[in-house]
């Protein structure tokens, strides 16, 4: 540790990190503080929020969360929509990704490279391109409805159909929105509205999400499966376990850390749907595609209620942070074994491979990296 070599390291250390500190400070930390102020102010969009607005306390938050009215109803609707989206996307994409990974990991399978490419490719394309394609596929006379037509099914007019799936099912059983269900539930929505289920239009976005993310998560599971190695599974087979038994009793428990990672990334990412909503009609049909992320944007940029939009942003932030903490709590007692750094880097790199999911998953990166490390 001679002073000559180490002496000017401090200067270089700060010089090397200065651009990052500056940009992140100015374009991330500062803006958040500014928006936090706006969420507690009555700024109307004119001039600078500093100096042209008054502190109004929690009014903006109250309008969204407590005061009954359109703002609260819209927020409640967006939460309901996103809740169903999360409930369906997260388990389905995880299950499909795991299934695909197990299939393309088979040593006897030919064309593994082709299958992996096919399943991963949708994750690479931009959300704009893929949503455009989905709008084309799901028009009333579109490709999907034609295929359904062969099966004798009369497909709905997907993106224009606001009917809730659960309502449709309940309607089939003769249940309607009268009686106890009509009573008011939280956030200005009746219980009947809460139990609408995802709208038919939302189902398309759910399929879209599963389609685009299953490939990324397949790669995560694939990496984990290769670490498990074929030997262990072969040993289980020699001991007389069938393929199902081997998978559920031997392979799956070893995949647990990756499973947690994938579930967390999914849970966080699914609360951030924005691009798809922007493209498919800004929440239409009948606001059943509205999500909190889009509502925050729309409230500010279209209705010019900046404080309220900022408040929704921070509530959404709160939801995502709460989910991250919940994930940490679930993972709390896991032994953090020290793995080779290089592997850790590769695990992180693998996680980051799909930029879309990186951004979606900002919150989980350090944890995910850590849990990827743990699995070795």
């Amino acid at each position: 540790m001679s002073r000559g070599i180490r002496g000017n390291e401090a200067r270089y250390g700060w010089a090397f990190t200065a651009p990052a500190i500056l940009i992140i400070g100015v374009f991330l930390v500062l803006p958040i503080l500014l928006a936090l102020w706006v969420s507690f102010s009555d700024w109307n969009g004119l001039g600078s929020p500093l100096g042209n607005s008054e502190f109004v306390g929690g009014v903006n938050y109250a309008k969204v969360l407590v005061d009954s009215g359109l703002a609260q109803r819209d927020f409640g609707t967006s939460i309901r929509n996103n809740l169903y989206y999360v409930l369906l996307v997260v388990p389905l994409q995880t299950a499909l990704a795991l299934f695909l990974a197990v299939q393309v990991n088979r040593r006897m399978l030919r064309g593994r490279g082709f299958f992996r490419t096919a399943f991963y490719f949708p994750s690479v394309t931009s959300s704009i391109a893929i949503t455009t394609i989905f709008i084309f596929l799901f028009t009333s006379s579109g490709a999907v409805n034609q295929v359904l037509g062969w099966l004798g099914v009369n497909g709905p007019n997907w993106f224009a159909d606001p009917r809730g799936v659960l309502h449709l099912l309940l309607g089939g059983l003769g249940v309607d929105g009268s009686g106890a269900a009509a009573a008011g539930g939280p956030l200005g929505l009746s219980w009947w509205d809460w139990f609408a289920g995802p709208s038919v239009a939302m189902c398309v976005l759910i399929i879209l999400a599963i389609f685009t993310t299953s490939g990324t998560f397949m790669l995560l599971f694939l990496a984990a499966l290769q670490n498990v190695g074929a030997e262990i599974e072969e040993a289980a087979a020699v001991d007389g376990a069938g393929p199902f038994r081997t998978f559920f009793s031997v392979t799956l428990p070893m995949l647990k850390p990756t499973l947690f990672t994938v579930l967390t990334l999914g849970l966080i990412g699914t609360w951030q749907v924005f691009d798809q909503i922007y493209l498919t009609g800004r929440g239409a049909p009948a606001k059943t595609l509205l999500t909190p992320a889009f509502l925050a944007y729309d409230t500010s940029f279209s209705d010019l209620k900046w404080g309220q939009g900022a408040a929704i942003s921070f509530i959404l932030f709160g939801i995502i942070v709460a989910l991250t903490l919940f994930q940490r709590w679930v993972l709390r007692d896991r032994d953090a074994g020290r793995a080779g750094r290089r592997r850790e880097v590769r695990a992180v790199a693998r996680l980051h491979r799909d930029a879309e999911s990186v951004r979606a998953a900002g919150t989980a990166v350090p944890e995910a990296a850590a849990s990827e490390g743990r699995e070795r």
Binding site: G13, A35, S48, Q103, I135, L137, L279, A355, P366
Partner: protein, 285 residues
Amino acid sequence: MSMTMHAGRRRLATIGLALSYVLLVALALIYIYPFLISISGSFKTDAEATQQPLSLLPATWTFAAYERLFTSVPLLQWAGNSLLITVIVTTGRVFFDSLAGYALSRLQFRGRAVVFACLVAVMAVPNVVLLIPRFLILKELGLYNSYAGMIVPIMIDAAGIFIMKQFFESIPVSVEEAARIDGAGVFRTFWTIVLPMAMPALVTLFILSFQGSWNEFAHFVVSRNDPDLNTLTTGVASLTSGQLGSGNQYPLQLAAAVLMSIPVAVLFFIFQRRIMSTSEGGEKG
């Protein structure tokens, strides 16, 4: 006895494999077919694309959609903006992320731990939450509707710094210490000795940054509203949401979607081996 059991098991395995082939081929078809009919749809007439969306070959080939994209739609301008932004953002991220990552992994200075902790905290902020804040600061700084406002905020990303830091920590210190004892300065050591060794991580960062900035949408929605600053993502989005009178003109929208996907698809196929490195020999190293 054991022979028959063996044969039975082998037959079972063969049946299993055949079944999974059928299943995988069907799934692969579901994953690929949408892209194929989108490409063919872009060469169909408006009427045919609406009525015969499933056919792989257009009954009548037409390049009308592409013609319109290059004449009445400012697609080239959008592409130019996307390219400019992607090149600068990618270069910036690769350079500044590795610079900061190196300092955080190797250089001793007071406050290093704090800087790193802040970085990890910053990574926890989800992107969609930043939309309104970023708009506010760009307005405040007078950068709204400017290339600077579209580029600078996304030119450094905490996740990239994190990747580079982790990678530099995997490289043995001995080499650079030798260089430094020989009198090379900190920056020269970093630039000529450490950075070349970090090639794999740099490539990863390059792929992520290129794809991320080429496909970026939300930030460009809040950082400008000048049509001259449209990128491919915001431009094609305006086509898809029917803003340019393109309501049901699927060939036009599909052609735009196809064209904007080409660079990322090329990148994907060039680096396919790397991206899919899990496939073979993920255990090396």
